[in-house]
Symmetry: C2
Subunit: 599 residues, 2 copies
Amino acid sequence: MEMLKTWADCAADLIAVAAGRKPADLVLRNARLVNVQSREVLDGWDVAVACGRFAYVGPDAEHTIGPDTQVVDLQGQYLIPGLCDGHMHIESGMLTPAEFARAVIPHGTTTMFTDPHEIANVFGLRGVKLMHDEAMLQPVNIYTQMPSCAPSAPGLETTGFEIGPEDVAEAMTWPGIIGLGEMMNFPGVVAGDDMLLAEMAATARTGKVIGGHYASPDLGPDFHAYAAGGPADDHEGVAEDDAIARVRQGMRAMLRLGSAWYDVEKQITAVTERGLDPRNFILCTDDCHSGTLVNEGHMNRVLRHAIECGCDPLIALQMATINTATHFGLERELGSIAPGRRADMIVTSDLRNLPIETVYARGQKVAENGTCLVDCPHLDWPADTRASVHLGKEITAADFEIAAPDGANQVKAKVIGVVENQAPTQALTADLTVRDGIVEGQGPVCQIALVERHKGTGGVVNGFVSGFDYKGQMAIASTVAHDSHHMIVVGTDRENMAKAVMRLAEIGGGVSVFKDGEELALVELPIAGLMSDDFASRVADKAQNMVEAMAACGCTLNNAYMQHSLLALPVIPELRISDLGLVDVTRFELTELFEKDSL
Amino acid sequence: MEMLKTWADCAADLIAVAAGRKPADLVLRNARLVNVQSREVLDGWDVAVACGRFAYVGPDAEHTIGPDTQVVDLQGQYLIPGLCDGHMHIESGMLTPAEFARAVIPHGTTTMFTDPHEIANVFGLRGVKLMHDEAMLQPVNIYTQMPSCAPSAPGLETTGFEIGPEDVAEAMTWPGIIGLGEMMNFPGVVAGDDMLLAEMAATARTGKVIGGHYASPDLGPDFHAYAAGGPADDHEGVAEDDAIARVRQGMRAMLRLGSAWYDVEKQITAVTERGLDPRNFILCTDDCHSGTLVNEGHMNRVLRHAIECGCDPLIALQMATINTATHFGLERELGSIAPGRRADMIVTSDLRNLPIETVYARGQKVAENGTCLVDCPHLDWPADTRASVHLGKEITAADFEIAAPDGANQVKAKVIGVVENQAPTQALTADLTVRDGIVEGQGPVCQIALVERHKGTGGVVNGFVSGFDYKGQMAIASTVAHDSHHMIVVGTDRENMAKAVMRLAEIGGGVSVFKDGEELALVELPIAGLMSDDFASRVADKAQNMVEAMAACGCTLNNAYMQHSLLALPVIPELRISDLGLVDVTRFELTELFEKDSL
């Protein structure tokens, strides 16, 4: 792919094309052009492209056409800017940046602001750089937000690597870094934590954007203190008041529709009913599974949904184009169809249903009728990034034996209670029997273990979980285990647990489901144990197969795999597991597996 | 004045105040707060200020009040952000930055984006730096736009210094430089002039804003080519279509109300009637005389006018606050009442008439009821900047003798025809008689001379002008002589012309009116021959006195002094004078004083 020149570097060419002295590379004629700057539809307009940028946008591009200019008559179809995802995690698709791009380009996404937070926990700054480097190879715009919080819960978990202010300062010098990723440790910001403030300062000093993440319904002084710390946006709002509060504080409200996030409908009423100025509202996905990308769409899905929620199509489109570009200081680079900007645009015949008929990125036709027409180059990922599962020893069933306190025949154990469709777990207890000195799960209570996989310590932390309804002899293991991404294995049977764990060790990470000693499903995620570099459709098929395998084991929970992968995230209440032990997230401290009064 | 810390450097303090751990410096309570981010009026809101920035903006700041906190009960008065002037020239007020600031602070202006284009013609980059340095001393925000076009007409005039791409690149490293000043040479941009493109590229590479100036009604390919070159805004529009065209090209339309510019009323209908998204509209003054500042106001005058033109007061306010801040990449620094921003705000009891009752800048009360309460520090201007009139010799009446071609008794001379209320002049001719070999003005035709004053060459270029209606024996000389700022003297009598010129040489520049050998009026502009460091009210009085003196000489033209000072500006048609000769601006070339057929 030819390097895109800066506007300044090709200004002479753009001027010459617009003035009629030099022919354009591409001219699209007779469009119903959606101008997101003026918020108008301009009938019969033309655009002329040169050097991958818009050279002329106006009523008549005849004078820009030469013998070698490619001319397309749009016959009155709409021409809209390429769509921007204001905040997202590529790893959530279980895909590399290249394969994520290939999956979303046919949906009209031409710009993403992505926080490679997951790989940061596995490979630290180096992992972020690798994601950044692959992102930079793509034919669409993928800007990287430098992860801010690895580990997410310092002192309660051990990550593969940590991120600190020096890492942030270094990342700010990379060409594709657009700002700091979501500052999730909001209690830390409110408390004035030095390290977090240093990360935000390192970002602010380069004039880049500090991403926010205030995941609390409390809109009192703590919220105001968080806003005073510097985060410039937030995608954690879930109610109209959340969105309004953020905008009133001079933050941008990012409204999220991910695979499992449904936060647009509740918040967009701030614009559609309360009449707030829409300029500070931005649409984003945050997390999309490969299945969503393959079957439902990406930002086109979000936009369509926002319109269904009553938002004017032009205003909704601004929320996925120019508002996003302005937020990140890229207004003169992308997000609108105007001279000098990257020629990222979509041909569609309907502004409400938004069929994505043709997609252009940097003036190149990159997709047509759902098919990606362009190469999405892969980075040559270093061998060690494909071998990130370091157990340090062979894990056997014995590693999952939970010894009872001396002499106990029965114990009262703490149990992580999974609740359908809710991110928080419940801190339950269960009376469990002891057999040969070993505590056994029973009924709805099965075993969970966190298997250390970054440093090969051989560490295994055992506990109990309920709510999955697994039956028979089974186990499911995953190296996607937010946020520290060790390995979480849940099972009713220790032999199956050991098999699933060793299977992931063998293939370098992913998800494995075992039943009665046989593998029912496997999703290979060889890169960092988080991502596949296979096509999204194949990953989606395997993920679907995994969901069916979980159901075959008795689990019919909505989004059960997401629940599984979040059980080691010690920032969401109430009870979680980490490599350091069981975590009481209501108190932010490690806790014992057995109740004291159980002896 | 204490240095203002960056948001990042005082984030810990702001967080602590908002969280209630540390008392605020200042709290304003019970405001009707105008939130320009959400476009709402919020009743009963409070703001808390620390480190000169907003720490808390919300419904109740009680928890931020300590024993030493200054608390003001606004009793339901409106609190609005301090006003921003999106583009202006301080020199137009004939005042230094300090005295300009002192004049406009009581009008609620707390931020200006100023292009010191005039001094750039006299002292080059050094002059710009001096203006920048004085601007940086002020208690309000004065950002400098690096002048782009000195000389304005290369080859047709000689300035004191020239500005080139290296100067632009150097200026971009100064702390108070916000971008490139208006790119006036629009034909040069359209033609792809290398030097102009290099200046714009030097600006764009630092991520700063390229100011535009497309002073033509032609909205065809040339206009599009100009937009493709990179200018990000334009204040030269005069009609609704101009504003719409600019916004559609992704430029910001700056609507101008100066002392002599009335471009808001015609263009604001793009918003009020055509319904365009108002976010890309910005209010500015461009040029304000001291008299306007003293008697009518500054940005408050513009805002009031925009509202009178039918604009919603909140939308108009956005055009003078957040829109401007966003345009210059300062949205998180100023332009709204939100955490982290500079605490620049105005207390007013009416959003339509906009009485400016109290003004705060960086949390400090800077004006109340029309009185500036704060020191506006002067730079110690170097001695040579107060001695910028270098004639190289004594100028006498003989220097203004215009020799007739050999043997002629009568000549047909070209005459610069001044037209009331129009910037363009007419290229007239007149049959003039010759006495003792010298051509004499007569009737409406009097003499004009451009006296070189930068390099002491002793150069005097003579010509004829009509339209001022001067009578009797008089002359008026001015070192404000756009854009090269030599000295323009117009007179009916060569002795008076010499006296007026020598008077300005004596005092270091300004405007002098002589009648019958006596000085009728004098405006001293000792700094660069352009500015006074006296109070605005005194400069305004002297300027008024000058206008009355011109009238006493028979001239009753509207804005006659502005006409005078523009007669050497060889970019406005049709006929001008420069240090190189008479300029035919319709052909952009030097021309002879006498018609060829006049011999």
